[in-house]
């Protein structure tokens, strides 16, 4: 009885999902299941929505081109509702019930560290596509987002040359903010500057009045922000409302990832410097085609294709490339194919897997916020994940499985 009902539910769910994902006829073979686990509701949905859209587009493009290995791809999207317990449950379901070939997902480092052990345990390949603090070393996992050595290292000297040597750092109070701010401090000191203070804010703080006074008292040359999430946007508002934007400029490793530059008015954030792998306005033919098809699929008025969306798109493409090379979706074969240093021509430029770290070698760009757009100022080709590389070598130690806290 139980089994019957389960089978029934599975088949109806599969039918419904297939109908939505792709209307083209199924190949005779079973489709390849791919899971996405991203927050679509709750506090983190501003990041999750563009990621799911990018993943959807990537899967649809692959299916339109005939699928992988002659099989269609079935995308199963889970919404953990910004709840860690559901992350665990959905990772278990994806691995055991859907028997997916790969899981793309996780937004915060917290959610990654929740699902990573689950997917390790059940031998399921895992792609984490978000920029993060670096240091994860796990043969079962690939990280397509940028890490501090790729972006902070470039942006710190650029901003210091432009504005001065005294840098006040404010950051979100969790792993990402704590570690990233240490990297910022390291590079500021290396470039002969000083950091009078690093302040941390829990993710739900909305009142920054006292902090703004403290920053004024410290009189820095510029402020470095590693603030995260919807509540922290109020810092930029209050900063501008206090008339500070014109006197003390700002650089950030997180701004615009959640479309902050669109939510805020130009008066509140123009002139801020950021550094990422992808900007929607990058001028290259691959990107122009990509943006066109993205807008065709999700509407011309789509606010902005974010860094995280591109990470997810590129993550899926890298995986698909490896599947083609391996001729199989088997986990180990795909890992081995990826470890040959698979490379794709992505909208952000050339993206290559770095075999020892399972991170990516990719282009980064410094851009300036200008009237709700991100204007690219300078390009840096093919940056290596040097931070993680200092501690992690999965070719030598394939059984390594941890997140290193990199000594700075």
């Amino acid at each position: 009885m139980m089994m019957n009902r389960r089978k029934f539910l599975q088949s109806t769910a599969a039918g419904a999902a297939a109908g939505l994902v792709s209307s083209s006829a199924f190949a005779a073979e079973e489709p390849i299941n791919v899971a996405g686990i991203h927050d679509l509701s709750g506090g983190l949905d501003i990041y999750g929505k563009p990621m799911v859209d990018a993943l959807t587009l990537a899967v649809e493009e692959a299916n339109a081109a005939g699928g992988l290995l002659g099989r269609q791809i079935k995308l199963i999207n889970y919404d953990p509702q910004s709840n860690m317990q559901l992350y665990t449950q959905f990772a278990q379901q994806a691995a055991l019930k859907d028997k997916v070939a790969v899981v793309h997902g996780g937004i915060t480092s917290a959610s990654r560290e929740v699902i990573r052990p689950v997917l390790d345990k059940f031998k399921t390949l895992y792609f984490y596509n978000t920029q993060y603090e670096g240091g994860v070393c796990d043969r079962d996992q690939f990280d397509t987002g940028v890490t501090p050595a790729q972006t902070v290292e470039k942006l710190v000297p650029y901003a210091m040359k432009k504005w001065g040597k005294k840098v006040y750092v404010i950051a979100a109070d969790y792993n990402y903010g704590q570690i990233t701010s240490q990297w910022v401090k390291k590079y500021v000191l290396e470039n002969g500057g000083e950091v009078p203070s690093i302040d941390f804010f829990p993710l739900d703080v909305t009142n920054f009045g006292p902090t703004i006074s403290k920053i004024q008292a410290a009189k820095p040359d510029f402020v470095w922000s590693a603030l995260v999430g919807g509540a922290h946007i109020s810092f930029y508002r209050q900063w501008a409302a206090a008339g500070m934007r014109k006197s003390i400029p700002m650089a950030s490793t997180t701004f615009a990832v959640g479309n902050e530059h669109i939510v805020l008015s130009p008066e509140e954030c123009d002139g801020m410097l950021v550094c990422y792998n992808y900007f929607q306005d990058l001028k290259n033919p691959v990107n122009e085609t990509f943006v066109k098809s993205f807008h065709k699929r999700f509407g011309e008025d789509y606010p902005n294709i974010t860094e995280l969306a591109m990470g997810t798109y590129q993550g899926f493409r890298l995986w698909a490339e490896a599947v083609k090379k391996a001729g199989s979706v088997d986990r180990l074969k795909v890992i081995e194919a990826l470890e040959t240093g698979i490379s794709i021509d992505a909208p952000s430029g050339k993206v290559t897997i770095d075999p020892p770290t399972h991170h990516c070698v990719l282009d980064v760009h410094i851009a300036e916020v200008a009237d709700k757009k991100l204007k690219v100022l300078e390009d840096f080709a093919q940056q290596k994940p040097a931070d993680t590389a200092a501690v992690c070598n999965l070719i030598k130690n394939p059984n390594d499985n941890q997140q290193y806290v990199i000594k700075i």
């Binding site: 929505k49 946007i233 209050q238």
Partner: protein, 288 residues
């Protein structure tokens, strides 16, 4: 010295914003014993109402001070008629229903507006105190809080509506026997509470931004303020906001926002332990 003046303004601002976000809940809880867990979402809706109005060309001040309270007040009346009125005298059930309402409103606004909503920035610019700069809008928020509280005082003290409200609050059966229609009083009260909440949400929108899940940041704080204040709507809200707002802001300035928050919460526990009926259970008993 400049810093002290600046800090004083910020403490005042913290007190004012706490009073603003709590007063609507205080009216609803104080008069009707309804714990409105969707209170945070009413604030959020006030913000959205202001944003939508301004993006359709309405003047910012009218959008914040007129449109937002009217829209959220109407929503409040609808909610009262559709849900709350079946649940009077069942405090726990109103909690569950308004929790459901809160989830529903978050879901609905996400479906309508998406996650990326262009906000409104604070008008009025900034001014200098010695070497420090701060936002003029801060003063505006303080002024709005004072006006709102004064208006509530005047309404309760001198108008017929206020008299009826106070009577119903003290003894609904007796008021009904004297010809008052309690259901109507309740609907109006809930509407006014919601309208004030919408106003607060709109006034704070340029400071803290608007997104569907922002309500969570407010609901616990305003709930604690209302209970800490005790039964009297006005003096309770004012005294509790003054106490908690000052503690929170000073602790935040001296240490970190985390300790600011913890200091506020710890103060609330100590307060309720010492004065189990809230501040106005002991002091200002004859207050409104």
């Amino acid at each position: 010295m400049d810093l002290v003046a600046l800090l004083a303004i910020q403490v005042l601002y913290a007190v004012a914003s706490l009073a603003l976000i709590s007063v609507g809940l205080a009216i609803i809880f104080g008069m009707m014993r309804v714990i409105n867990l969707a209170h945070g979402e009413f604030l959020m809706l006030g913000g959205y109402a202001a944003i939508v109005a301004t993006s359709h060309g309405v003047n910012l001040w009218i959008a914040m001070l007129v449109v937002a309270p009217i829209v959220v007040g109407l929503i409040g009346v609808v909610v009262e008629r559709a849900i709350i009125r079946f649940l009077y005298g069942r405090m726990i059930d109103t909690m569950l229903a308004t929790w459901g309402l809160s989830l529903f409103l978050v879901g609905l606004t996400t479906a309508i507006f998406g996650n990326t909503t262009v906000g409104i920035s604070a008008p009025l610019g900034s001014f200098e105190i010695g070497t420090y700069r701060t936002s003029t809008y801060t003063l505006f928020v303080i002024a709005v809080a004072i006006v709102v509280l004064a208006a509530i005082f005047a309404t309760l003290r001198w108008t017929r509506l206020g008299l009826i409200a106070r009577g119903t609050m003290q003894n609904a059966d007796m008021a009904a026997a004297l010809g008052v229609n309690p259901p109507r009083v309740y609907a109006v009260t809930f509407g006014i509470g919601a309208a004030l909440t919408g106003l607060a949400g709109a006034v704070l929108a340029p400071v803290s931004g608007v997104f569907p899940t922002i309500g969570v940041a407010y609901v616990a704080k305003s709930f604690i303020t209302v209970i800490g204040g005790g039964a009297a709507i006005l003096s309770g809200t004012v005294s509790a906001s003054a106490l908690f707002g000052a503690i929170n802001q000073i602790a935040t300035f001296v240490t970190t926002p985390v300790f600011g928050e913890v200091a506020l919460l710890a103060a609330a526990i100590v307060l309720i332990r010492l004065l189990p009926q809230g501040i106005t259970g002991r002091f200002f008993r004859r207050g409104l």
